[in-house]
């Protein structure tokens, strides 16, 4: 299994929300999980194009799956995510939520390394009609 976090403007930009990829273990909002924090344990500010991922931690289930090595975690930038949003919308007529579009972005990359007869299942956790304006804004399109 793979999980895909929000790399925002890039992991090195400090404008992202990749708590597993770039964070460390901490206790925040009542959870022991991966969080973005400084050396003193102060929680860091985050950025993601998807509001649902713009958070300095991850649900503890993900931390657990990572610790068990049951899932591997990667990230997708805002730009890759918007591109994936457009690909699925145009190719399949399915408008994915920006949160789920991160997974699509990774699936597109992953598919290139797989055989034609292998299968990928992607979880689309939500629909993207709520995100159309954000995407248009990102692409510089007036709607």
């Amino acid at each position: 299994m793979y999980g895909v976090e929000a790399a925002g403007e890039g992991i090195d930009s400090n404008k992202h929300a990749a708590a597993i990829g770039a964070g460390s273990e901490g206790v925040f909002h009542g959870m022991l999980t991966y969080v973005l924090q400084d050396t003193e344990g102060q929680i860091q500010t985050t950025h993601s194009i998807s509001a649902g991922l713009d958070y300095p931690g991850v649900g503890p289930e993900h931390s657990f799956l990572k610790t068990l090595r049951r899932a591997k975690y990667f990230s997708a930038t805002d730009a890759e995510t918007v591109e994936a949003f457009c690909v699925l919308s145009k190719e399949e007529g399915i408008v994915p939520a920006l949160e789920s579009s991160h997974a699509i972005a990774f699936a597109i990359k992953l598919a290139r390394q797989m055989k034609r007869n292998e299968t990928i299942a992607v979880t689309l956790s939500g629909r993207g009609d709520k995100d159309v304006e954000v995407v248009a804004d990102f692409m510089g399109v007036n709607i």
């Binding site: 901490g26 924090q37 050396t39 003193e40 344990g41 102060q42 929680i43």
Partner: protein, 271 residues
Amino acid sequence: MSDLAKVFQRLKAQGDGALIGYVTGGDPKPEFTPMIAEALIKGGVDILELGIPFSDPIADGPTIQAASVRALEAGTTPQMVLGMGGEVKNKYSLPIVILTYFNPIFRMGVERFFRLAKSFGIDGIVVPDLPVEEAEAYCEAAESWGVDTVFLAAPSTSNERLNRIVECTSGFLYVVSHFGVTGAREALEDSTVQLIQRFLPCTTGRIPLAVGFGVSKPEHAKGIIASGADGVIVGSAFVNIVHKHQSNVEKMLEELELMAGRLKEATKRYM
């Protein structure tokens, strides 16, 4: 017996309640804290509670949130606040309680945190976002280092759970007066008095009970002590003074001392 327990015992013998004064360490800048502490002590606080500023102070209202922001912007670290507590303890030998959210402790390491706290002579720790159910390692470390663990009980705490909290608590029990966050309030609510009366049968003879959140005026303190509580915790009222007079230190210290004096008078039962 810990220094915290001794203070409550001495005051109780006099028929008085304790005044616990809270300020955020490093607000507005680290160099202010020793002066602020001195003013509060001169005014009459019995126990000083220093807060470690945290980026996400979920139990605090706007007043203490803003204090945290000021302190963090001025570069305040958890180690610095423990050091400030130690400095005050050395100079005035009154009990020092540190309030911190759990993540700074977790980040430092529970064992290291308590070792450091003990080395500065810190008497007790309050962690608003640590429930007793998750506190086993924390309590073990605190006990081995001889630092009191002040847990919180709130209006939502059942009598059964209260008993469990009291079992884990040392120094004093921090009673959260109402649903919601910290911040000065206009009046003492009847529900706070009822809460104290609900908790007293479980705490009497086991642990002193101090009431905080919204306690900002002498009449609040008076009402709470009259209801049978052993102490009051006042934070936002002091932090408001710090904020209001941050550009006039003399005025700030004068007002803090005056406010502490009025509140202390109100905790005396003979009044």
